[in-house]
């Protein structure tokens, strides 16, 4: 499914992987997280080969994947306790991170009482709470309506700026990718490889409608062969 995928995420860098559905984006994340074993290859940290299980990973899935039988606070505490934190400290840290995502007053609620966007915010708080070495996010906003997604993107950046942990964010939305990222990797082909990488050096506090971002989005879509440029088939299937 994947071939010769080599990518580097720097400390403090927000890296987005863009590609259409099913091309293997999630597989890359799963390999880094140690959930899937690669047929060949390694995950290196600071150029040293490391056992995936040594890396502290915060994972945010497409669906919130909260435990519906635990309260919001206990859901965040679950990840902390799994990381070895004591129960009391886990509760305290959970509260802190829930406050960070603006859900402090919902800590005793159960997930089914919250909206999809709020559940996803809990999932983000859970991933951040363990203070991971690396944050992995698999299309976390793709199941949400666009309005909620916009507000969560901005919030994610706001929180991320405070800690600047390296992030690998997978998405099929090219505009979202350039809005969020410092580095965009374009994944394409069967088997998939990184066909191109883009630097987004715009200052933070970006606007989704910024023409510079739209231009970068175009570049990505061109590379993926989805626009009419470069003799590629346009969206109607006919080369421009």
């Amino acid at each position: 499914m994947l071939r010769d995928v080599t990518l580097t995420v720097e400390t403090g860098e927000f890296c987005c992987v863009v590609g259409s559905s099913g091309c293997g984006k999630s597989t890359i994340l799963n390999i880094v997280a140690g959930l899937t074993l690669p047929d060949a290859g390694q995950v290196l940290v600071d150029d040293a080969q490391v056992d995936s299980s040594r890396l502290r990973i915060g994972y945010v899935f497409q669906k919130p994947r909260l435990l519906n039988w635990k309260s919001v606070r206990d859901n965040v505490a679950f990840a902390l306790r799994a990381a070895g934190v004591s129960a009391a400290e886990a509760r305290a840290r959970a509260r802190h991170y829930l406050a960070l995502v603006g859900l402090a007053q919902f800590e005793d609620e159960f997930p089914l009482a919250l909206s999809g966007g709020m559940q996803q915010r809990v999932a983000i708080a859970r991933a951040l709470a363990i203070e991971p070495d690396l944050l992995l996010m698999d299309e976390p906003f793709s199941h949400l309506d666009e309005l909620t997604a916009r507000s969560l993107r901005a919030e994610l950046l706001r929180i991320w700026q405070q800690t600047k942990k390296p992030v690998m964010f997978v998405t099929h939305n090219a505009l979202e990718a350039v809005y969020l990222a410092d580095q965009v990797l374009i994944l394409s082909g069967r088997p998939a490889t990184i066909m191109k990488s883009l630097r987004v050096s715009l200052p933070r506090d970006r606007q989704m409608e910024d023409p510079r971002l739209v231009a970068l989005q175009r570049e990505i879509l061109d590379a993926l062969g989805l626009t009419g440029a470069n003799g590629n088939p346009g969206s109607n299937g006919v080369p421009a």
């Binding site: 990973i57 994972y59 899935f61 039988w69 679950f78 799994a82 609620e109 089914l112 919250l114």
Partner: protein, 268 residues
Amino acid sequence: MKSSSSSSEGAPGAPIWQRWPLLVHLASLLAVLVVWHAIASFFPPTLLPGPIPVFGRVWQIIFSGTFTVHMGATLLRVATGFFFAFFASIALGIFMGVNRTAERFFEAQIVVALTIPSLAWSVIALMWFGISELAPIFTIFIVLLPVITVNIVQGTKALDHEMIEMANAFRAGRAMVILEVVIPQLVPYLLAATRFGLSLAWKVAVIAELLGLSNGIGYMIHYSFGIFSMLDVFAWTLAFTLVMLAIEYGLLKPLEARVTGWRRAVAL
């Protein structure tokens, strides 16, 4: 934010029987008693005793302590048989749920075991183990085992693997995954199995006692049959039923409510 479960409940102006569901339950019970009393007046008390003599007899057997003795004996057999069946079924059910080969292997045996009537098992057990506590306990165990196992297998197959994957992504240990992610998902199946298993166990116990034991509810019902006292048959059955209801409403329903409270939260 939680929404109320029925829009008319508590609404002023709604008829009283909608505002207080308990009244409907009580009215229903009262109706049964009244009809029973009315019909019984047409029959001799040796054929159909009315509620008043029956409740009087119930009070007698409880007050004299005989009920406690026999109810206790039956209860002990049920509890023991159920206990062993419950845990053996969980182990076997989870094993079959996660392992396809195990499932295929045990499926035939379970289907066969399910079709053998509990009466047959009772007789076999009495012939094997004689008139002892082991006979009814074994019977309860062997009747319940396939039933609860099938239930647990379904529960295991319905497990949400995305939750387990999430737990693995956060490096949760095996114990945490089983206790905090798997078991809570099995709870509704465990509850159903407990309810059904207990109700089945009582019936099996009474049959086993009726056949060959010298104490217990089944024995007393048989004894009452022997002296042809319909009053006693009714009274023992009723007393037993009251205990069953007490267990259901005093133990199982509150347990269920506690353990599934999170379901009643409603999305915004």
